[in-house]
Amino acid sequence: MKKPSSLHSPRLSSKRRAEAHFHEMWSGTVSFSLVAIPVRLVKAVEPGRVSFHMLHAKDYSPLHRRMLCPKENKIVPPDEIVRGYELYPGKYLLITDEELESVSPERSRTVEIIEFIDMEEVDPVYFDHPYYLAPLKGGEKAYRLLAEAMHRTNKAGLARFVMGEREYLVAVKSTEGVLSLITLHYSGEVLSGEDVSPEQGKTEREEQDRLKGIIQGMIADFDPDKYADERRENLLEILREKAKHMAPVESPEVGEEEEESTVDLIAVLEKSMRKVKKTGEHKSRRG
């Protein structure tokens, strides 16, 4: 069966999506009072379907973002990368992961709900980025309980936790039985709207009522599916046209990145040799 192309089906295959989403970025515990729920943080949003992949023009290999040492013009493997705080130009103080975690050791493993709030009270200007929380083994029941109890009380948990170099103020919310985590801006980061707020003259009651009438006539249900993005639509149109007369290019198979240096060269060559022989990519038969 021919797989539907993504030009027509807006979603990628469920398997790939699942792999993509559940890439874990943090795991730890959500707690409220004496209850502790092991969880991991997963993505709740991702780039849309009309997003492009950067490819190598030569062989159409996908491009990955990596850290490059500009002095040696070399890709630097993760184990050679360190974190530095710039004391003054060009002079860095190295900070290790352990030192970073030592700043708030509890918060770097626990999302501790301090209190419960009404989500409606949170000005949307505070919303930063949404994630989902998925239960880890053994935490499924407590997870369900927190989600269901918050749903019934229409409350959300307010908590703080540390991920990487940063502490986040977050809301833990229940959505259809699933816990989500929305990072919030600290109030110190939220600029006041007062500065741009206009002078309040006498309200033009008449004009306001006229506008209300117009707005009333334009009331609809929120339906994110129907708001087409002009650029996306244009691109899709161009792509559909193009697909008719142009074959897609294929990228070569890209293996997993392996640990280098620890492996014996001969052993690697032997292993690769077996693979080469098996796939019969060459023509070793004599004519």
Binding site: E72, N73, K74, G255, E260, S261, V263, D264, L265, I266, V268, L269, E270, S272, M273, K275, V276, K277, T279, E281, H282, K283, S284, R285, R286, G287
Partner: protein, 301 residues
Amino acid sequence: MSTKVAEVEGARLTLTNLDKDLYPSYGFTKAHILEYYRRISPFCLPHLKDRALTLKRYPDGVGKEFFYEKRCPSHRPSWVKTAKIPRDNGERMTVCLVNDLNTLIWVENLASLELHVPLARAHSPETPDSMVFDLDPGDGADILDCGRVALIIKALLKELRLACCLKTSGQKGLHVLVPLNSREVTFEDTKKFSRSVAEVLQRSYPDLVTARMGKEEREKRVFINWSQNDPSKTMVCVYSLRAREKPVVSFPVAWEELENALDEGNPRRLQFLHSEALSRAEKQGDLFREVLVKNQKLPYL
């Protein structure tokens, strides 16, 4: 008209014995040779640049006496670029750098039909910018066998995410070059790596490949000469003529071309005469450019 004063890129040069036939059984004079090198120079010069040239001079043409000249002749014109490279005895030797068309024409006027250069540049003689697998067929094996080995090497290197380029030696063999272009690699690295590859291939294809130089071992097999990865060795430069009966060129081969030649079982598809070399190079550009620019790291060393 046997002697002519030529002006090449502003430099004056006296060209001698222009009608001397240096490939007598084919009919190819020094004038032809100069014309070949003039036209191939845009492709050839980047590969010669900054490398210590070893002249292989055939004053009386192919099949006659020849001699190697590593030292740059003292009667050279003032504009010939040179470098001083250390010799084993501690002395420093002045060598020619063929960095421009003038020098190339001057060198050819000396009947240095073949151009041989090391894998490293003169200013960093211990840093090879490519690794080579010199595939040399023993008795009873031919260039198509070399082609089979080249394909295996390519597939094996691909597993290690290394790209490589292929050229004919212009004689019976093939050269597989792995671009490196990194300041960190040494001949010790390239020798170890190429030798390991050669030995693994020999174990996997004992009837086709040998990693050893001995004559009997090479019989009906392809010898992978890994020992070329050495600062003291030179290789024939890509686009150089060879001093054979016909003016055959060491020329780049696209991998599909090799596969086609193997499918057809036609060794002549892996032989490029001067005229075909010129028309192809002018049409397709330098297939060997990657060797100069691609930066690759030898893994697992």
